[in-house]
């Protein structure tokens, strides 16, 4: 009995030791991968950052108004944000490869899923980034047009434009991430958003003068007093 216990115990210890011995190199490999991953990710980050600076990426994002967005969120400049994001992504990738080396069942599947998911994530983030930019741009355009056309409640209009675009963008993002089927709301948003974006685009870019004229005719003419002279700017 005692021997049995001892033998079982020693066998367990043996197995533990063997298992440990079996896993230890993998663990070491994982740690090496993690460390090497950090180094590679850091290198990629530095490289990307200097590349973006060289390409005047910050200036570009300033021009499109992206920097404003980041400023508002108290984030560092766009090139810094992007290179940090890439750093984490690369490092995480290495760590996940390391984890898969450990050979833990189930985890491997998740890791594979992660890599499969990566391109979609990128696309989604890309859409989100520019979608938010567009939302800011068009809402401001609507605001300015409304103010200069003396339309009542310009900020409401501006907010509506922004909301519609964001809903629209989010729906695309969820779709891209494969989560779309889960919400009917988003589907509705796509339809509604597309319609409203179309209108917003038409009024915003396609015919801003026309739209202005339309708005003016619609809202201003009745207010104009008889015999009033218009100011001449030039």
């Amino acid at each position: 009995m005692k021997e049995m216990i001892i033998s079982e115990l020693s066998q367990a210890l043996h197995e533990l030791a063997r298992g440990f011995a079996h896993y230890l190199p993998r663990l070491i490999v994982m740690l090496i991968l993690a460390f090497a991953g950090w180094a590679v990710a850091y290198f990629v980050k530095v490289l990307l950052r200097s590349l973006l600076r060289l390409l005047r990426f910050d200036k570009l994002s300033e021009n499109t108004g992206a920097s404003q967005l980041l400023n508002k969120a108290a984030l560092p400049p766009a090139s810094e944000v992007l290179s940090r994001f890439v750093f984490w992504l690369v490092w995480l990738g290495f760590i996940l490869v390391g984890v898969s080396v450990l050979g833990i069942l189930g985890l491997q599947e998740q890791v594979a899923k992660f890599f499969f998911f990566l391109p979609r994530l990128f696309t989604a983030l890309f859409i989100l980034f520019f979608g938010l930019l567009a939302a800011g741009f068009f809402s401001r355009a609507a605001l300015l047009a409304a103010v200069n056309a003396n339309v009542p409640s310009p900020r409401m209009l501006s907010f509506a434009v922004r909301s519609i675009i964001i809903v629209f963008v989010l729906s695309i993002v969820f779709e891209e991430l494969g989560l779309a089927e889960q919400t009917m709301l988003v589907a509705f948003g796509i339809v509604f958003g597309a319609l409203m974006l179309g209108l917003a685009l038409a009024f915003g870019i396609g015919g801003r003068n026309l739209a202005q004229g339309f708005l003016e005719r619609r809202f201003l003419r009745p207010k104009k007093e008889e015999g009033e002279d218009e100011l001449s700017a030039l």
Binding site: Q68, R140, A141, L144, P154, E228, A233, L234
Partner: protein, 438 residues
């Protein structure tokens, strides 16, 4: 090796030439027939049939009277008129193809028309005219607004003569105008050009002007066209090009500038055409304007300007309301553009009662300078910056109207002069913002 090095540049030139053909074949053929000219009269038209007939008649009679020996061509760049405008222009040609007329002219007079696009664009029109001037090696050119009903032949002489005979490169116009006409010019363009570049050019945004072939070619080759930045406000850009190119500039008094009916909705396009290019060129001309202090008059033929008085009914309430609502509604936008102290001050005056309302000159100048600096930094979309200026300009106009309501011509001039000096005085403020832009 030297072979290859020699072979490359022509290839590049070819590509460039291929891209540069914006003149139609038909127009080129007409230009070939015109040949070299001494004087080119340019007209940028779009559905101007009502006024253009009288204008081209006066152009023709001026040429027959004062430029009998010169080779003259009238070039009409049309933006797709559907009312027969081009035919009215080409109809004044003098040649041996038409039945004999009693017109006494030594020479053939070509009056030709080309349609540069289906939509009007003063930039495309002027570009066409400049290209024609260069191809025809015109010595002196004059561009006339196709809608001034009061134009007479003398105007052409007044703009042409300094260029043709006194070797000026640019003849800008001055007019007799109502004191409340051209408010953007008196309240922004004139004072700011003057403060920045040190030249007192009364109408930097020109609708009728004369220029030398040399200046035209130089301007054409600057090629601000291709990148789209030269899209608007070509007229002002030409003035600025003459200034920064250190060209000889003069002013010619033309006469009464008739009021052309405009709508208040035209304000934003007007800003785009004038303030936009003004701000946009600040960066490239920094070396010129940063060192200028004070201002000098430019040689002027005739009076420097004349002001007519008379009642003008303006809806002041609406100006006031649009200013205030603009300041309130655009707060977030102004946060990006204006200095905090300026915004606070604007918000303060926006709350004033109508009779107490005043948008002081100093605050207006600071506003404009801060807009210019923000434009340069592209804090938000540049067109949005220009649009955001519109409500503030309305506020400034209201103050200008109030201050000069009962003013004589002299009072109005003094008021404008005061504003100019304020622009000049505060110029270091702009420079300071410019230098801390990074």
């Amino acid at each position: 090796m030297s072979h290859d090095a020699l072979a490359l540049p022509p290839l590049r030139t070819e590509i460039k030439l291929a891209e540069e053909t914006f003149l139609t074949d038909d127009f080129l053929r007409q230009l070939i027939n015109v040949g070299e000219v001494d004087v080119l009269v340019g007209l940028a038209t779009h559905n101007n049939a009502k006024t253009i007939g009288a204008i081209v008649q006066s152009i023709q009679s001026c040429i027959l009277r004062s430029y009998t020996r010169d080779r003259v061509v009238i070039i009409n760049a049309d933006g797709g008129s559907r009312d027969g405008t081009p035919e009215l222009v080409t109809g004044i040609s003098i040649d041996d193809l038409r039945p004999l007329s009693n017109l006494h002219s030594l020479r053939t007079l070509h009056s030709i028309s080309t349609q540069y696009a289906n939509t009007p664009s003063s930039t495309a029109a002027l570009r066409t005219i400049l290209a024609a001037a260069e191809l025809l090696r015109a010595k002196a050119c004059v561009v006339m607004s196709p809608e001034s009903p009061s134009i007479d032949g003398e105007w052409i002489s007044k703009l042409l003569h300094p260029v043709r005979y006194d070797s000026f490169d640019l003849a800008t116009p001055t007019y007799r105008r109502h004191k409340f006409e051209g408010l953007l010019i008196t309240n922004l363009l004139y004072p700011m050009t003057r403060a920045l570049y040190g030249l007192r050019i009364r109408e930097p945004y020109m609708q009728d002007f004369g220029f030398s072939g040399r200046l035209g070619s130089e301007f054409l080759s600057q090629n601000a066209w291709a990148d789209g930045s030269g899209e608007d406000g070509i007229e002002l850009r030409l003035t600025l090009a003459a200034i920064t190119g250190k060209r000889r500039i003069c002013q010619s008094f033309l006469g009464q500038k008739e009021h052309v009916e405009r709508r208040s909705a035209d304000l934003v396009p007007a800003l785009r055409q004038t303030v936009g290019p003004m701000f946009a060129t600040l960066e490239s001309t920094f070396s010129t304007w940063s060192s200028v202090t004070g201002s000098q008059p430019v040689p002027t033929f005739g009076p420097e300007h004349e002001v007519s008085l008379g009642p003008l009914r303006v809806n002041r309430k609406r100006l006031r309301q649009m200013f205030s609502s603009g300041v309130a509604e655009l707060e977030t936008v102004f946060h990006s553009i204006l200095a905090p102290s300026t915004l606070v001050e604007l918000q303060r005056i926006a709350r004033l009662e109508e009779e107490d309302f005043v948008y002081p000159a100093e605050l207006w100048v600071k506003t404009v300078y801060e807009f210019a600096a923000s434009y340069q930094k592209s804090v938000i979309n540049r067109d949005h910056i220009i649009q955001a200026l519109a409500p503030l300009f309305r506020g400034r106009v209201l103050t200008f109207l109030t201050e000069n309501r009962n003013g004589t011509a002299e009072d109005v001039e003094n008021n404008i002069e005061g504003l100019c000096l304020e622009f000049e005085r505060l110029k270091p403020y702009l420079l300071q913002m410019w230098e801390t832009r990074e």
